[in-house]
């Protein structure tokens, strides 16, 4: 039943695209299938299959595309267990539709996205413009999208519990050919979120100085195994500010290396937001051309962020104090860093292209009560068929 709406949207999109494709006759269909499997030491397993079709509408970069993504999640992470809940499973389905058409050097685009899961529904609309500036060495891209999300509560009708969230993204990028072997891209994204950004299932434990002192006297640090013993009986729902504004600045460089032969790439990114989070990302990588058909790539990724201004390892209150206005147990708002190393092999045989990608992600949380580290394995494989 859950698949009905996205499937209907996809079938409608394909029906609309098919006659257009035959009429134009300027390109081929491209059918893609990918699957990503994520598993980690925090008892989370996510399997994400994806199917996409695309068809060029002109020689200038215009295309029509449709994509379906399904997340099958099974989790018994500390985030779940600390709420006295056992393992949960859920399915999330997303459909993306996009169309673009070239008018000389200008390529406008429109997109629509619908996603739904048991307690969350989102509808997003986007518009973009791609334009070559002067020579074909410089390309400017500007995109705007807005999403309207409805946050529900599993097992409860939206008429009984529903919160809303509106997210707007404005994205601008400039790609410049710096020479016969070098490309550079600069990117900026402004994100504005307004509405409900907490988790309705997340309750935040509170402590007083007596509880903290008792743990110290016992010579233990408060963690998942004993926090219930030291916390106050009151456990308020998570609450975070209802406005969040973020700025992301990124640079991507690509350099062709004839000696390999292959290319070197480097991504560097800085993110700042109104909740006080500052995050930096660095991703260097190398791609080797093993043959005309096959590529081997290796990459590293380093991500580090500090905590939100209202993040606390433990929210400690004094007798008679009010509950802290903002309180969260979301570890994505805590300080942490992640080191990722991965490799990918890609090969082409006639109209068929396939790849397999495997990576290891090691995350260290420096100020999270329930978890100090997490090791994740991510594998991704996919096939492309040009018809």
């Amino acid at each position: 039943m859950q698949l009905r709406t996205p499937t209907l949207l996809l079938v409608t999109a394909l029906a609309l695209l098919a006659p257009r494709a035959h009429a134009e006759g300027e390109g081929d269909w491209r059918v893609s299938s990918d699957t990503l499997v994520y598993t980690d030491s925090d008892n989370v397993l996510v399997v994400t299959p994806q199917v996409a079709v695309a068809h060029p509408l002109d020689a200038g970069g215009g295309a029509a595309s449709a994509r379906v993504v399904v997340d099958v999640v099974s989790a018994a992470s500390v985030d779940v267990v600390s709420q006295a809940t056992k393992r949960f499973s859920e399915v999330r389905t997303e459909v993306d539709l996009g169309v673009s058409k070239a008018f000389g050097k200008l390529v406008p685009a429109l997109s629509y996205r619908h996603s739904e899961e048991a307690d969350y529904v989102s509808n997003g609309f986007g518009a973009g413009l791609l334009r070559q500036l002067g020579s074909s060495d410089t390309t400017l891209s500007v995109n705007y999208d807005i999403a309207f999300d409805a946050v529900g509560y599993t097992g409860t009708a939206y008429s009984a519990f529903a919160e809303s969230l509106r997210t707007q993204n404005l994205n601008a990028s400039l790609t410049q050919v710096l020479g016969p072997r070098t490309l550079l891209r600069g990117i900026y994204t402004l994100t504005h979120q307004a509405g409900y950004m907490a988790k309705p299932y997340r309750f935040v434990p509170l402590f007083d100085s007596a509880g903290i002192d008792a743990a110290k006297a016992a010579g233990v640090s408060i963690d998942l195994s004993n926090f219930d013993q030291y916390r106050l009986s009151e456990r308020p729902a998570e609450r975070v500010p209802d406005i969040r504004v973020g700025h992301a600045f990124g640079v991507r460089g690509l350099r062709y290396l004839e000696s390999l032969p292959g290319s070197l790439h480097l991504d560097a990114q800085l993110f700042l937001d109104s909740w006080g989070i500052v995050a930096a990302t660095l991703e260097p990588g190398l791609s080797w051309k093993l043959s005309e058909r096959s590529l081997l790539s290796g990459y590293l990724r380093y991500y580090q962020q500090n905590g939100a201004i209202f993040w606390r390892r433990q929210y400690v209150v004094r007798a008679g104090d009010l509950v802290p206005r903002w309180r969260t147990g979301d570890r994505d708002l805590s300080p942490y860093y992640t080191v990722t190393g991965g490799a990918r092999f890609e090969t082409r045989r006639g109209p068929l292209t396939g790849y397999v990608d495997a990576s290891v992600m090691d995350t260290v949380y420096s100020d999270y009560m329930f978890l100090t580290s997490r090791l994740a394995l991510v594998s991704q494989l996919g096939m492309r068929l040009e018809l």
Binding site: D34, L190, G250, A279
Partner: protein
Amino acid sequence: MKKRALGIALALGLGLFGGCATTKPWQREHLAERVMAPDGDGEREALRAHMLGTREGAVGGFGAGGGGCGCN
């Protein structure tokens, strides 16, 4: 102050980019290769960004945009 810094950075960036020499068609052999595609494979990167979007606190840039998922 922030707006001024942003304006200066943007002007510098555009100045640097705008000052680049035009690459001739016969010089674009390497630029046309798969290993030099700045977006990589669109579907593959979209799936990867989707996964990173739920594992990293930052949004935008080369990663996923915010919204559309209650999966954090």
